[in-house]
């Protein structure tokens, strides 16, 4: 077991640190092993993939499964669909939940308490809980098998409103007061003072919304039957399985579906952890 830790050490290795690092490496290996096996499988031929007894590394390395997958064509459609849906959902969610979180946290209007209670009750409703009535609603709106039908029902997450509401409550009022005295209106204050201050929280909300939407299976599964409209997770799970499972291809497809988010996480992980701490999620 080697530890692939970057060695820019300032402090010397203590015995305790060595033990912990070895332990960390061992646990990481357990976490990564399934992924590694998936990757190796995708680089085997279909016959080698189902050989008994199984083995880790391909005897003959081949990108045949990846090529076959790309050749079927669907996968690029699914990728674009996933991207369109996730980007739209994330943008809409960020906008409406930031506005609503701020409205509930910092403005007064008639019926605020009742509406807030209603939104909190929404924390308990999801497509999993009320999938069938939600489907008939979307059906009434004529949105089955459309982008609208996939996107809009994902755009009312009470949880995100609640997280941002909690955060906005913590923004010092003095900052806003000063701007009001200078003659700025509510909207101006929101966009020029509050939003820039909340960038880490908004980033966390945005990233988690994007992850959830990219990986969402249940709702797109209910609302689309048309393979051209499917998102990545759905296409791979429903269409590829229905041909009879070709494991090497399935693993290649899975890795393709997972890769974009892994890349995003590698680049943004510091912001993600900071964002989680910043929203107050971790500490309230």
């Amino acid at each position: 077991m080697t530890t692939a830790v970057p060695v820019k050490s300032r402090r010397p290795w203590t015995p305790g640190q060595i033990v912990l690092t070895v332990l960390g490496a061992a646990v990481s290996a357990v976490f990564l092993a399934p992924l590694a096996w998936g990757l190796f499988t995708s680089l085997k031929s279909e016959t080698e993939a189902v050989a008994v007894p199984t083995h880790w590394l391909p005897e003959r390395w081949t990108v045949q499964a990846w090529k076959a997958l790309l050749a079927t064509g669907n996968i690029t459609d699914w990728f674009v669909n996933s991207l369109v849906v996730s980007v739209c959902v994330t943008s809409v969610v960020l906008l409406v939940s930031a506005l609503a979180g701020y409205g509930f946290a910092r403005t007064e209007f008639r019926g605020k308490a009742v509406l807030m209670g209603l939104v909190m009750s929404g924390l308990m409703v999801s497509p999993a809980v009320l999938g069938v009535p939600l489907f008939t609603t979307v059906q009434q709106l004529g949105m089955v098998d459309t982008y609208w039908g996939m996107i809009l029902p994902q755009c009312a997450p009470a949880a995100m409103v609640y997280i941002l509401y909690k955060f906005f409550q913590g923004v010092p009022r003095e900052l806003e007061e000063a701007a009001f005295i200078d003659g700025a209106g509510r909207w101006r204050v929101f966009f020029t003072i509050v939003v820039p201050l909340s960038r880490p929280s908004l980033a966390a909300v945005g990233i988690f919304t994007f992850i959830a939407s990219w990986n969402n299976f249940l709702w797109p599964y209910m609302v689309t039957n048309n393979p051209d409209l499917m998102t990545m997770p759905n296409g791979i799970a429903t269409v590829m399985n229905s041909y009879g499972i070709q494991w090497a291809q399935l693993m290649a497809g899975g890795l393709m579906a997972g890769l974009p988010l892994i890349v995003v996480f590698v680049f943004f992980q510091r912001q993600i952890v900071a964002g989680v701490a910043h929203t107050g999620l971790a500490g309230q």
């Binding site: 409406v96 609603t137 107050g280």
Partner: protein
Amino acid sequence: MTTAGSVLAPTRAGAGAAGTTTAARPGQGFQHGGWFVAPFLALFSLFVIWPLLRGVYLSLTDANITGTGERFIGLDNYREALDDPLMWDALGHSAYFTLLVVPCIAVLAFLLAMLAHHIERGQWLWRLCFFVPFLLPSTVAGNLWQWLFNPGTGMVNHVFGLDTPWLTDASYAMLALVIETLWWTVGFSFLLYLAALQSIPAHLYEAAKLDGAGAWQRTIHITLPMLRTITGLVIALQILASLQVFDQAVVMMDFGPGPENSTRTFVQYTLEEGFTSYRVGYASAISIIFFVIIAAVALARMWLLRNRTEEAGR
């Protein structure tokens, strides 16, 4: 509100005093506030409140999937549901899954976070390794483990020298589902714990060290109490998520109910009734029952939480 993250929490006194001045501003009240929440409320009404109300209505009818010619049949659907052994089975599977998964996730996430927090080198690497499964779509994680659990060609039996029919034997299927779920979702709770650990003020540990407390004592007397709120949150989120389990179960069982129907979850049963048997009225009735259960769990949590804060306040 006075725990780890309180750096960010509002100072109550200041907020209250300033609040009255803002509220008193003429013309800054109802209209503006109303417009801030309006876009969200529009979407929320259409895709949360309306389906909920519609579900209540449909549950009192014999509606089919086309939504035409439904008849009002009163509480018949509910009566049928309470006598329906498949519904109780499905509810039992979801509850059993939740009971198995939630404590494991909480403990595992805490241990992983402690590990990642205390290793000085390569923080980003540990974060990535423990979190990466959560970044996979549920279907991909499900397919991957379906493949790993395959008795002949799968790695699990190969590595541990077993001969277990994981996905085809009713006594192992749920266990397989739990193992997959732990691997796939623990990263999220791990990240919450890690953020909470990082926001515990360092001076608490320094003070304890000066008083001669060892690493173990510092963990018991500082870390664990400081993490109580995040643990509550992790458990609450995980209970709600686990009760709604669906994706990995159907993917790993090839869209079926598992061996001897042993992994058919509540959500799966609802959707089967609605979309496979076309019994929208009945499916709505069991959805409403499910909603009531989820709401009861959430309210119980709020009630417990309130009691605890009151106790702490005394």
